[in-house]
Symmetry: none
């Protein structure tokens, strides 16, 4: 009985979240500028209402009673566990602290947009100090309630069950091996060279190519859309997945791969168990697993030679004029070279997969110190510059705009999120290796444009499980072993340093 009440209650919460997801997408894609204040208030009102529904006393009572029920199947028990998790996190914090955090995060993000434009870290610092101080309080209170270390309690919001000990164990080999590997790749690519295709590349043609490739890799456009926003993302809900991109008329390559990256997120959402729609156990697991699905499609599949062979004719057809003027830019060799360029650079979101982990190691190290209180905010620019020199051989001294002010995460209060990007890359490599073992002709299929076997494996081993297992459990069940960074390092060597 209690379980049924919980099921109905969380179904209604899930429906509110569906509405919120569509309106959030609308805010990024459609909303006229002057509507911002009214919309922000309405979204805050909806969030408050959801929080009130989640933290009702009767939910706690039902959860206690449901824990005693012995008539539940595996999925129902997992659903109760996820409900319990959401309830414990929501009730662990004093309402005053929740309100103070929400206000500070919002003000800090707005201030960041202004000060970043002016490269003014000193002006922005007081906002970041307040945000760090409040999220330290959150981390302590959550940690106490969940019996976790403070920083682990923050990571747990984004990827349940993952703690720093797990992250540190898989990051250590990257930190040890990537510098030399990166040197070797850059040296090798310097001797090869490539031809940059010259635009302009019509936005409508880029959009058509993106839609064609999305459909080819199995994104279901009858349950989703492709639109334009300033910051590309994958939003919406499993029945209506909203992918966005942005078009650069001088370079078609970044939007195409961006669309395929978001399509990877989108296929995960579309593959979630329909039977558990609007229930906590039916949701995507966590951000590491989500990122593994976008990176599996983008990095493991679409930047590889078999996919580029499949896509090349469509690319040439989409930009037939450019291709006729500059055929050397559209050869298979050149397209493959374009999609596997490696370069040490300042900006994380533009980084290739070889140098990307260095950006993450830097942020992960610093955010742990910020939350622990061992790195004062005012020393952040120097610490960032010092780590950039060590990890990426670049200096951001005097250039905080492209240094510690570049990401929206900390300004908006997202601490503990960054390491999950690179965990996602490692999970993607390990899953892909397992698929290649299970489906020997996989890459031949991809070259023919057939993704059915890939999808079937992912559906059976990842998508259809929703939040039934932790990502750690899921990786082990799917691949037969715990997460091992060797797969990611092996992938990089195979792709970037072939014999």
């Amino acid at each position: 009985m209690s379980y049924e009440k919980l099921h109905e209650h969380f179904r209604r919460l899930g429906q509110l979240q569906e509405v919120a997801a569509i309106v959030e997408w609308d805010q990024a894609v459609n909303m006229p500028q002057q509507a911002g204040n009214s919309r922000a208030e309405s979204m805050a009102g909806l969030a408050r209402l959801s929080h009130e529904l989640l933290t009702q006393q009767r939910v706690g009572d039902w959860l206690l009673a449901a824990a005693e029920q012995d008539d539940l199947g595996d999925w129902e028990r997992a659903n109760v566990r996820e409900m319990q998790r959401l309830y414990r996190r929501a009730t662990a914090l004093e309402p005053n602290l929740v309100e103070a955090v929400a206000r500070a995060d919002k003000q800090s993000e707005q201030a960041w947009r202004r000060y970043r434009g002016e490269n003014d870290f000193a002006g922005y610092a007081p906002h970041l100090e307040e945000v760090v101080s409040l999220h330290r309080q959150v981390a302590m209170a959550l940690g106490e309630a969940l019996q976790l270390q403070p920083f682990d309690a923050l990571v747990d919001a984004f990827e349940p069950g993952v703690v720093c000990q797990d992250i540190d164990a898989v990051f250590a080999p990257l930190e040890a091996e990537l510098p030399a590997l990166t040197d070797a790749v850059i040296e090798r690519q310097a001797s090869v060279g490539f031809t940059q295709p010259e635009g302009p590349f019509d936005t409508a043609a880029q959009r058509q190519l993106g839609l064609k490739m999305m459909a080819a890799v199995g994104f279901d456009l009858s349950r989703g859309r492709l639109d334009v926003s300033h910051h590309p993302f994958c939003g919406g809900v499993p029945s209506d997945v909203r992918i966005t991109t942005r078009y650069d008329e001088s370079d078609f390559t970044s939007s195409l791969m961006g669309v395929l990256h978001e399509a990877g997120h989108g296929k995960y959402e579309q593959g979630l168990p329909h039977r558990w729609e609007h229930q906590p156990v039916g949701l995507a697991r966590g951000m590491a697993l989500h990122e593994s699905q976008s990176l599996l499609l983008e990095m493991q599949v679409c930047r590889g030679l078999p996919f580029v062979k499949f896509a090349a004719p469509s690319i040439r057809e989409a930009f037939a004029g450019s291709c006729a003027r500059q055929p050397a830019a559209f050869t298979l060799e050149n397209l493959t070279a374009l999609y596997s360029r490696v370069e040490r650079s300042y900006i994380r979101v533009d980084a290739d997969e070889v140098t990307y982990p260095a950006h993450i190691l830097l942020r992960y190290g610093l955010e742990k110190q910020l939350i622990a209180g061992t790195l004062p905010v005012k020393e952040l620019p120097d610490a960032w510059d010092s780590d950039m020199r060590r990890l990426l051989q670049l200096s951001t001294a005097g250039n905080d705009k492209d240094g510690c002010l570049q990401d929206v995460h900390w300004p908006s209060g997202a601490f503990g999120y960054f390491p999950l990007y690179t965990m996602g890359a490692m999970i993607a490599a390990q899953l892909y290796a397992a698929i290649v073992r299970a489906v020997p002709d996989l890459e031949a299929s991809i070259e023919r444009g057939s993704f059915a076997q890939l999808d079937e494996w992912l559906r059976q081993n990842v998508w259809s499980w929703g939040s039934c297992h932790t990502s750690t459990e899921l990786v082990e069940r799917a691949t037969g072993e715990p997460l091992d960074p060797r797969y990611f390092l092996d992938h990089l060597r195979r792709r970037y340093l072939p014999n």
Copy 2:
């Protein structure tokens, strides 16, 4: 104290309605087809939650206490009256009925989109039967609670305070005089003739012209948008007004006037009192008054000679190629003739203002019988055909797509809405006559593209009042007399049968 609690409670309800309005717009403009079921469920869930919030016992207690408060101003008292109205309507219905209606309406509307395309009334009929049956239950329950006749209780949802007796009184002169007037106009126009502009008219050029004209008549595009949907409408909220249209590449005239019609609705929304945003008294009054604002702009202003003089250069510029090939189609005389053509036709939304009331008389008569249960749904196509022959001298036998399946209203559960279109036309004519008396050089201003005096009069006399008065009171305050159909009939004679 009670008033302040009501104010805060209804503010939160208003925020939920803002979210619902954006998601409803999204459903018509963006939603992929397969998302329909999930979305219908979520919208029904949101409706149920709003209904629960509205009907909480404490709201009733606060309303009783607020009615005793003697420290409220006029607006606060009007706000309490509107809250009381909403509370009484909402508490009259069982929550299960509310949710069943919301779900049936959404599913029926989605089914209608499919079956209408296939001209399949028999396929669609079961959906309409369910919707009619549920809305009959609603009408009976509401009628009892509000001490109104069942059908009046439905009309009251769209235009508070208006009952069939009022409608019948102002419709009688139209029914008596329009047939002969229509004959006379058609006979007169047959001897004049016009040149149909030949397309194709590029959709992007039509959109740009629509945006230019919207902005010219004062629609604020920083607080609104123009998009495409199957059935044009004005949605969203005052801070974010979402207008839609559809483009016909063979005929630019209908989309342009459609956009201006919706812009009239949109300007009303944008002109509502900002101080009362998200409060019941701050909402647009009712659909008759809303339609009066769209028809005032479209029919009284934009189809008149002064506006056509203003718009003609922009029209010629937008379609310069067509204009060069066919200059006779773009003369002032021809454009005016195009925008005042009168013809008995099948489709209400394409009808001119002379024959439009006949479309309304038909629907109003049939919907009263559907709700009363005296017309079975399966007999609707024959009844429609019979009334079309009588009122418009046309037959829809075998052509339900252009007959009883043409409108979204009944499929989405809007019964009692149709008569308000023609009430709106009458209000528009009476308001416009009052503006012309108050602003003697109005039409000269319009010819110069200046709409400031028009807007100022409407803002002072209509928009800024929100729901402070009933539409009946508002018309009398604004024009000095009760609604009188003579203004509308005089307008038709002056425009279509000038001496």
